[in-house]
């Protein structure tokens, strides 16, 4: 199995997320950046499939130079090699442009299986998996909480997470699968893995190397644009009910007003 897994570097989950004042893109400079947590599940699933069926896991990311940290993390977990698409001209790419760029890179790798996670914690578009499948002309299996690969029959079956229960979905390989957190328990990298990662092949591509047209990517090529952004309003302080012997009645009145009782 030749498996490609996409990973994205995002601002640390707990960091206050800000938009750059000048171009309204996510500010990645003033915060700690980490691997999108859900991508750890994608990497884990890719490694498990490789361990069960043999083959190779290639990590693909698009992001600034610093995103190489996230590649190293995936390699230290056990992935075999990586491709890092990085170029100043890619800054500000929207979901459409991101998926076009990733698809271009991934198609050169001729994967049997592409794994993404369902959502990145910064932009939370939740669309890249579907967009990639469309651009690669492959079947898409989204929201997978369990993946079973049958290389001999060249098919993949997933349990697709639904509101109450799951749906069994099957596709022929190659295919794109996006995973949810229920799917597994990601391993930690190990010290030995970290040291081994140093020696694993890493290909760094510019937009031109990847054959991307500068006008179709980055802020210039984005089909969407952020016009304005406002911070979420601080939570209001709530209502304080003073109990003067009638506390119960007042609470019942409050709940009734909220149509809760």
């Amino acid at each position: 199995m030749n498996i490609v897994v996409t990973v994205k570097q995002v601002p640390d989950t707990w960091a206050e997320k800000k938009l750059d004042a000048a171009d309204k893109t996510v500010d990645r400079k003033s915060v700690d950046n980490v691997m999108n947590e859900m991508d750890e599940y994608g990497v884990e699933e890719a490694l498990k499939i490789k361990e069960a069926h043999g083959g190779e896991v290639t990590v693909v990311t698009m992001g600034p130079a610093k995103a190489v940290e996230t590649i190293r993390k995936a390699l230290s977990m056990g992935a075999d090699k990586a491709v890092h698409l990085t170029d100043d001209s890619l800054h500000g790419s929207d979901a459409l442009a991101t998926s076009a760029a990733l698809a271009k890179v991934i198609s050169t790798l001729s994967p049997d299986l592409v794994i993404t996670s369902s959502e990145a914690s910064d932009a939370r578009g939740g669309v890249i998996g579907a967009l990639l499948a469309e651009r690669l002309g492959l079947p898409q299996l989204t929201q997978a909480r369990k993946v079973t690969v049958d290389p001999a029959a060249s098919k993949v079956t997933i349990e697709r997470q639904a509101d109450n229960g799951y749906a069994l979905v099957e596709a022929s390989l190659p295919a794109v699968v996006s995973v949810v957190e229920k799917i597994n328990q990601p391993r930690y990298p190990s010290f030995k893995g970290i040291m081994a990662a140093k020696k694993k092949p890493l290909t760094t591509l510019s937009a031109a190397d990847a054959g991307l047209d500068a006008a179709s990517v980055g802020l210039a090529g984005a089909a969407t644009s952020v016009v304005t952004a406002v911070p979420a309003p601080p939570r209001s302080s709530g209502t304080i009910v003073k109990d003067e012997g009638d506390g119960g009645t007042k609470i019942a009145g409050f709940l009734a007003a909220q149509k809760l009782i």
Binding site: S76, Y188, P189, S190, F191, I194, A197, K198
Partner: protein, 383 residues
């Protein structure tokens, strides 16, 4: 605010980040309950061991990480940020491997060290006795040679053993002759041997998730090949191990102090009095500024001592200074963190009172801070 670290390589950064991630995910969710219930988190050590974080400063050819102290200590710091008990445990485990790694014969190291460094077993270091703490040469636990040559028979009571009862092996010091400081020897002893009884855990003020016990030896048989470094070399070995261990404790103190500072700052930015956040009252802002300065200078002093050691320079004086400066800083910073939280800080609903209790012991073990001053002064006197 994330700590600004200058690490030499991307791999070092990744190792420190790995420690931070494991501490955040495996330790943080349980530390409050473990400390309250006095439960030793053995599972956390298993995760750290599997990740290779229990053997970082030891040679690679024996399965260690071959990492400089400068990196290892920052790993300890990240662990101490989440749990002083676990970080002290990692440091003590490391200490327990030291005598074999640096004073064992080649055959002993080949036979025993890979397992010690595998991350699976947990170690303890047993030097102190009820009447021999600051003055270890006053110890009375005796190891006498068995007449049939089968080994040594150990008898006596060791005290204050971190990981007593939960360790898989003990590095124990005992007397093989009456020569005051030249009659002490070092043994590597498996847990569970006949003639070794573990005492009840001490009821401590802090580090309650880390068991501290006596070890009572009654004619326990120790095979000859478990004597490390020859008869009489024990005190020298113990002191060289402690020189490394003190750096570990200094790093634990820095991590703990950083946590207390961060918690205090977060509270002070949120809590309002007289119409503004308390951090904006200069009197309290300056207290926090002094705390930040104490943490940063403790870290700098500790890492500077580590770099001396990594460069194979004499580092005993620097290690004692680091232990003294960092643990005194941790005491002051944690005490002030309680002050910053006001009444809330004095309750068990907030963790800062625990930090203060945890900082206290760091001024006491691995050589009290009086003993550190004694070491430093001796170096000064020698010129």
């Amino acid at each position: 605010m994330p700590v600004e670290r200058l690490l030499a390589t991307p791999e070092a950064e990744a190792v420190v980040e790995l420690a931070r991630t494991i501490a955040e995910r495996e330790i943080e969710p349980r530390v409050v309950a473990d400390e309250a219930d006095g439960r030793f988190p053995r599972e956390v050590f298993a995760v750290l061991g599997a990740a290779g974080l229990l053997a970082l400063p030891y040679p690679e050819r024996f399965g260690g990480g071959g990492q400089p102290y400068e990196v290892y200590l920052q790993v300890l710091e990240e662990i101490a940020y989440r749990s002083a008990s676990v970080a002290v445990g990692v440091s003590v485990h490391s200490l327990s491997c030291y005598p074999l790694a640096y004073h064992g014969a080649d055959a002993q190291r080949d036979a025993l060290l890979p397992r010690l460094l595998s991350g699976v077993p947990l170690g303890a270091y047993s030097l102190s006795e009820p009447h021999a703490g600051s003055d270890p040469a006053a110890m009375t636990t005796a190891a006498r040679v068995e007449s049939d040559g089968a080994g040594y028979r150990l008898s006596g009571t060791k005290a204050w053993v971190t990981h007593g009862g939960v360790a898989d092996f003990y590095t124990v010091f005992a007397r093989t002759s009456t020569d005051h400081s030249g009659g002490i020897s070092c043994f590597l002893i498996d847990a569970g041997i006949d003639g070794l009884v573990v005492g009840a855990p001490e009821r401590k003020m802090g580090l309650t998730a880390s068991p501290t016990t006596q070890l009572i030896f009654d004619d326990a048989l120790i095979p000859t090949d478990r004597l490390i470094g020859g008869e009489g070399a024990g005190l020298r070995i113990a002191l060289s191990a402690l020189e490394a261990g003190r750096l570990g404790i200094a790093a634990c103190a820095v991590g703990l102090a950083q946590r207390a500072l961060d918690d205090a700052v977060a509270y002070a930015r949120d809590r309002q009095t007289f119409g503004r956040a308390i951090i904006d009252h200069q009197g309290l802002g300056f207290l926090l500024a002094d705390m930040a300065a104490a943490v940063e200078s403790a870290r700098a002093t500790t890492l500077s001592a580590a770099r001396l050691r990594d460069a194979a320079r004499p580092a005993a004086r620097a290690a004692s200074i680091a232990k003294l400066v960092a643990t005194d800083a941790a005491m002051r910073v944690t005490e002030n963190a309680v002050q910053v939280l006001g009444g809330a800080g004095y309750t068990k609903d907030y963790p800062v009172e625990r930090y203060m209790r945890e900082a206290k012991v760091m001024q006491i073990f691995e050589g009290t801070n009086q003993i550190q001053r004694m070491v430093i002064a001796r170096h000064l006197a020698k010129g």
